[in-house]
Symmetry: C2
Subunit: 164 residues, 2 copies
């Protein structure tokens, strides 16, 4: 059973609570291309300033997870969204990732998007691949050695896609 999350748009004032979540993920060097050492300013630009929308999931009054949507290409490719998701470490195992993904599938068409595309799903990140697959995404391509994993070195990455 999934905990009773509420969802709302992220606002700039959320970033002090969001940054520790992003920072931990970036420092791991296991799933996002942002290298360890990525600054708070870079994180803010990536997650708050440049996306079409960023959403937070609230559980017990705290930010349990978040995602963003942005056009994956300009102009004639802008109907396909790119999305990124993160779950706070204290909130893992509560279905937050799945809830965020399902929410994004509902949210994307409200911004005119017709599909979601993930450009770099690290192949070694089996839980993520499993989760996205269970949410209706398919692997449409594999980029060989596309990700310089902190522990594993050069690792394949998947491109995943679903219409919304």
């Amino acid at each position: 059973m999934t905990a009773p999350f509420t969802f709302r748009r992220a606002v700039p004032a959320d970033f002090d609570e969001l940054w520790p979540i992003l920072h931990e993920v970036f420092e791991s060097g296991e799933s996002y291309p942002h290298a360890p050492g990525t600054t708070k300013e870079e994180g803010y630009r990536y997650w708050i300033e440049t996306p079409t929308v960023a959403i937070v999931a609230i559980l017990d009054g705290r930010i349990a997870g978040t995602y963003y949507l942005r056009p994956n290409q300009v102009g004639l490719g802008s109907h396909v969204a790119n999305a990124g998701y993160m779950v706070a470490s204290w909130a893992r195992g509560k279905g937050v990732g799945r809830a965020l993904c399902l929410h994004s599938i509902e949210e994307a068409p409200r911004h005119g998007f017709k599909a979601l595309q993930f450009n770099l799903v690290v192949a070694s990140n089996a839980p993520a691949v499993h989760l996205w697959t269970s949410c209706g995404f398919t692997i449409i391509g594999t980029i060989p050695k596309a990700f310089d994993h902190k522990r594993l070195g050069l690792t394949d990455a998947y491109i995943m896609h679903r219409f919304v």
Copy 2:
């Protein structure tokens, strides 16, 4: 036989000669995601300001074609380059596209890149797909309906890749 091109780095002063080339390609709405109506300023930012490097091929003293290289991802994905190529309409059929592509394969490692990735090769653009394939690129994925083609509507796009 290929005409005797010379290659050099593009400089900001080249953009007055480059813009008509970019403009014609953008206005066609057939191959680049930049929609018809893309401004010269947007073109400058895309081709000159933000890439790692832009190169021009000179033939008879004029810019016959151009390409750029930039990291396709930040940080842990930045060893894979994205590239874009354009040939001036007056210079078509002279092997400029192939010469640019082969030059980029040599140039990319000088900037630390280990591979080239094209994110959106419009499937209807058969000459391009054929050219990239003949230069050693492979189709590693197909994004359904990823490109809103000016004449054909929503069209599949390929992701193409090769190590360098």
